[in-house]
């Protein structure tokens, strides 16, 4: 399968990889950076997923946000959230200008999930969000499923103490510390999810056993039960056996299957796509290139 390296955005500072065929009846998928990891994602998850979904006819762009991976620029401590959202919107602008794509699904883990949520709130081109360990609020049942099993485990306590020490060490590095920012309140999240549902944005929210704010599958729907259309528009899965970064390949395979099923169900092909439109769209990799394998989109 052919992929293409792209530099785009203001001063061509952002870098991404385009994969898959373009189908005019389908939105494109954008894979957002997870923390400080490069665009291939944790354990190469984004690359594997982009290629797997390309075989099923999905076009995607995985890219590094400003100052991360192979992208230039920087994120200030004050503006981390704003910078991430701006970068995602620039990626959508570039895809729209270059390929005429106007509908997008955002895929993100952790800070990538949060950026996906925030971008969806302010940009109507986002029609779908796949968020891994993204926003959720705790409820009274959370501690029952989360803490109770841990309370009597000495190994769990040892593990927790060691983790705190590692986190303190990493926070001493200035380049890393800017990722810390406030988590929105439950009321704020309820307003935001309501706004997204009113707009008809479809979401797949997957929480892992490593998520510190979710401890059972129905938690999200319990907490946000008053959000209109929440059960129809937001699918939630809780993969307790998986860790936060989907370290094991079998967990990633399960997640990809879940993602693929949801995409097919939530974004079925539109009937009105003509054969001519398909032929025009399939020329996405046939564009003239400035340098070997190097494509610029502005």
């Amino acid at each position: 399968m052919k992929e293409q390296a792209l530099r785009f955005g203001k001063e061509e500072r952002l870098c991404g990889i385009l994969a898959g065929p373009r189908h005019p009846g389908r939105p494109a998928i954008l894979f957002l950076s997870a923390g400080l990891l490069p665009k291939s994602g944790p354990h190469r998850m984004h690359t594997e997923f982009a290629r797997g979904l390309a075989e099923q006819g999905w076009l995607s762009l995985r890219f590094d946000v400003s100052g991360n991976g192979d992208s230039r620029g920087s994120i200030s401590r004050e503006g981390a959230e704003r910078t991430l959202v701006n970068d995602v919107r620039e990626a959508m602008d570039a895809m729209q200008r270059r390929f005429g794509i106007e509908r997008f699904i955002l895929f993100g883990l952790c800070s990538g999930a949060e950026a996906a949520h925030r971008t969806a709130l302010e940009d109507g081109r986002v029609e779908g969000v796949i968020a891994l360990d993204g926003f959720i609020a705790r409820n009274w049942l959370f501690p029952l499923f989360h803490y109770l099993p841990r309370l009597f485990s000495l190994r769990k306590w040892r593990s927790w103490l060691a983790k705190r020490s590692a986190e303190r060490r990493q926070a001493d590095d200035e380049e890393i510390a800017f990722w810390d920012y406030d988590w929105p309140s439950r009321a704020t999240l309820e307003r935001e999810f309501t706004a997204l549902c009113k707009r008809g944005v479809r979401q797949l929210l997957v929480f892992s056993g490593g998520c510190v704010n979710c401890s059972y599958e129905r938690q999200f729907h319990h907490v946000f039960r008053r959000v209109p259309g929440v059960r129809r528009l937001i699918r939630v899965r809780y993969l307790r056996h998986a860790d936060h970064t989907y370290l094991l390949s079998r967990d990633r395979t399960e997640l990809l299957a879940e993602t693929s099923r949801w995409l097919e169900a939530a974004f079925p092909l539109r009937d009105e796509v003509t054969p001519e439109a398909l032929v025009a769209a399939s020329s996405i990799f046939g564009m003239p290139q400035g340098a070997p394998g190097h494509e610029e989109i502005r």
Binding site: E3, A5, R72, K156, R169, I176, L247, L248, G293
Partner: protein
């Protein structure tokens, strides 16, 4: 910086070429040979910063993903050490072409030291520099296996302990390694590589600490050390 895919043996190699901006190009191009698996992800940012720094000092520097890794084509597990050495040589040709350069320095980190040493052996007009090299291939494989077991049992990572049975064949700390490649690495001994320069660091990167497998390496002092090392050579 140019980002592109280079072709070799029908594979696409993802490469970033860092070019000097308005400064004299030094006479030696640099190819950064990265680690594998989770060690690469930890080092990605540091390698990008190092390449930027050296380019700002007049060097043409290339970073790349081996086939089966990162953004290059192919699935991990299907390739050998010799494939990766060919990848490095392909990227060196891009560097030579970009800067009209004759000489190449291979800067290898961790597993990349194995690739760099082999690439230097096959390229008479080059030299090799190690950064945190594997001291011994056999020891590295043993420690990687032990690390993998500790990670699977880390109850702060997993809600319930996972077992080796949950891993795919030759899957170690989240990445699949080819059996042939692991055999190729087993015999490597950094001390036996003559004339290798060493990029010294004062930091402990904690390669064998299961709690640091996701920790991003940040070490600006290495950039200055590398600059000095290449200045001396010039």
């Amino acid at each position: 910086m140019k980002s592109f895919h280079a072709d070799v043996d029908g594979e696409q190699l993802y490469c970033n070429l860092h070019l000097p901006a308005g400064r004299l190009v030094q006479g030696e191009g640099i190819v950064l040979c990265p680690p594998l698996g989770h060690e690469y992800y930890r080092a990605y940012r540091a390698l990008a910063r190092l390449a930027d720094h050296l380019a700002s000092r007049g060097h043409v520097v290339a970073r790349f993903d081996y086939r089966g890794q990162g953004e290059s084509s192919g699935n991990a597990g299907g390739y050998t050490l010799q494939d990766h050495v060919r990848d490095a040589a392909t990227i060196a040709a891009e560097v030579r072409r970009a800067g009209s350069l004759e000489r190449i320095a291979w800067l290898g980190m961790r597993y990349g030291a194995v690739v760099a040493a082999r690439a230097a052996r096959e390229d008479a007009d080059s030299r090799v520099i190690f950064w945190e090299p594997l001291a011994s291939g056999a020891d590295w494989l043993r420690s990687l296996d032990a690390l993998n077991r500790r990670v699977l049992g880390d109850l702060d990572r997993f809600a319930d302990e996972r077992s080796i049975g949950d891993c795919a064949h030759t899957e170690l700390v989240g990445y699949i390694y080819g059996s042939t490649l692991l055999d190729d690495v087993r015999g490597f001994d950094a001390a036996a590589v003559d004339d290798a320069g060493l990029l010294e660091t004062r930091k402990d990167y904690g390669w064998e600490d299961e709690r640091r497998i996701g920790e991003i390496i940040v070490d600006p002092a290495v950039n200055r050390a590398a600059e000095a090392l290449f200045r001396e050579a010039a």
